[in-house]
Point group: C2
Chain length 236, copies 2
C-alpha cells in the first residue's frame, strides 16, 4: 500500500470547533477505519492523555469514528502496527518527539505511515512528518534524544505559519527570519503552512489543500508562495 | 569579587539603534573596562562572527570601548578568563549554546561571571544566564549537547516577552501558554522580560530595571507582574 497522509497546520480555526474545518476531508480520509489510534503525547497546555483523548473522541464521533488513546495499550508499537488509522495531535513538539523515542514508537510509526495506514497530523503531529522537528515553533520544555522525525515527506513543516506584522514594534524574530536562520545551517526545504492549509499525501504525490497559499523556503533562494491544489512532490 | 551582570530582554528597541537605550547604563557597568570580549556565536539572521562583531564594536565605540570578538583568539577559555568585560549578543539560543559547549566555553564563562567579570547579555545572551535555555523563543536549528546554561541567576529568562494579542485570530500558542507548558514538566521560575526591561545583578541582589513591569511565572501559581526597581533576589 502507498502513503495516505493529511498534514494540517492547525487542528482548530479561530471561528471553529476542534477539527471542525477538516471533518469533511477526514470522513473520506478515514473512510475504511472504524477506530482511530490517537497519539496524545504533545499534551497542549499540559493536559493529560485522558483529557486530550476525550477531546479528540468528541470530534471524531461527529463522523462516526471511535478513538482510542495509545496510552491505553500495553504495547505501543503493536498498537501502531495494528491501527486502522492514526492521528497525532498538536501541543509541544519537543515533548511529542521525546515521548515517541522514549516509548519506542518512532520506527513503528514511520513504518505504519509509509505502509499506507491513513495518518492525520495537526501542528506538532504535522511537524513530525518532516525530516526533523527543527522548524517547530515550540519551546524546548523537555530534551528529546534526537530532532530527527518520521521523514514521510522529503522536507520540513513550519505549522501555524505567520506572516510578519509590519505594524508591530516587537523586535523578536519574525517566522521568516527564523526559517532563514535554519537555512544558514541546514539545506532541507521548509514549507510554511498557514492555519487552514493542509497537505494531502497520496503515495509519492504531495498536494497543498485549503483556501490559502503556503510559503516555500529553499536554502539560498527567495521564498515563494505556492497556490492551493499545487502538486509539490518535486520539493526535496 | 561578586557578580556584576546586566540581563537585557533585547539589544534594540523599535525606535532606536543597536544597544542605544542601554548605553548610559553600560557606561557605568563597564566603567573599569577598556576592552569588551564579545561572544558572537548566536549569529542573528545567520550573519558572520566578523559582521556581528563589527556591529557591536560600532555601538561600544560610542562609550569609548574597544570590542574584540572571541573568534579572534586562539584559546577561548583563556580569552574569557582574561576578559575585562564580556558581552554575549542575541540571535539563536540553540546555536549559541551548541557553540559554547563545542568550544569549551561554558565552564570558563560561568566562572568568569560568578567571579565578577562585568557581563552583559541581550536576548539569547540573557537566556543563557538562567539555569537552562528551555524558555527560549528560538527554533532548534542545531542540536546542543545539553540545554543547561550558566545558572548565574536562580531562575530562567524568557526574553522579548510578549503579551497575548487578544484581537489575534492566530491559533498558535501564546507566550504565556508556552511558559505554562514548561511548568508542566519543570519547577524553575521563569521571568518574562519585556523589551526595554533588564535585570541588574550585583552580588546576590537581582533588581528589575527599565520602565516596564516583568511577568513572573512560578509553577502552579498565577503569574504576577513585578514592578521596576523591585529586588527579586528571592525568586528561586
Amino acid at each position: 500500500m502507498s502513503k495516505n497522509i493529511i498534514i494540517a497546520s492547525t487542528s482548530t480555526l479561530h471561528d471553529g470547533d476542534y477539527l471542525e474545518y477538516l471533518l469533511p476531508e477526514l470522513k473520506i480520509h478515514f473512510e475504511n477505519c472504524k477506530t482511530i489510534l490517537f497519539i496524545p503525547f504533545a499534551r497542549p497546555s499540559g493536559i493529560t492523555h485522558e483529557e486530550y483523548t476525550a477531546k479528540v473522541a468528541l470530534a471524531f464521533a461527529k463522523i462516526g469514528k471511535v478513538v482510542k488513546g495509545i496510552h491505553q495499550f500495553d504495547d505501543y508499537s503493536i498498537a501502531i502496527k495494528n491501527a486502522e488509522g492514526i492521528f497525532t495531535g498538536g501541543g509541544n513538539t519537543f515533548l511529542l518527539v521525546a515521548q515517541l523515542y522514549k516509548k519506542d514508537c518512532m520506527i513503528a510509526l514511520t513504518e505504519a505511515v509509509k505502509n499506507g495506514t491513513p495518518y492525520l497530523g495537526t501542528s506538532a503531529g504535522s511537524n513530525i512528518c518532516g525530516l526533523s522537528m527543527q522548524t517547530t515553533n515550540d519551546m524546548p520544555i523537555v530534551c528529546p534524544p534526537s530532532f530527527k522525525t518520521l521523514g514521510v515527506i522529503s522536507f520540513n513543516i513550519n505549522p501555524h505559519y505567520l506572516d510578519a506584522d509590519l505594524l508591530s514594534k516587537h523586535m523578536g524574530e519574525t517566522r521568516e527570519t527564523r526559517i532563514n536562520e535554519y537555512h544558514s545551517f541546514n539545506n532541507v526545504p521548509v514549507l510554511g503552512l498557514r492555519e487552514g492549509s493542509w497537505l494531502k499525501v497520496t503515495g509519492d504525490k504531495v498536494v497543498l489543500k485549503g483556501n490559502l497559499t503556503a510559503r516555500l523556503f529553499l536554502q539560498n533562494q527567495i521564498p515563494v508562495e505556492i497556490e492551493s491544489e499545487t502538486d509539490i512532490s518535486y520539493v526535496k
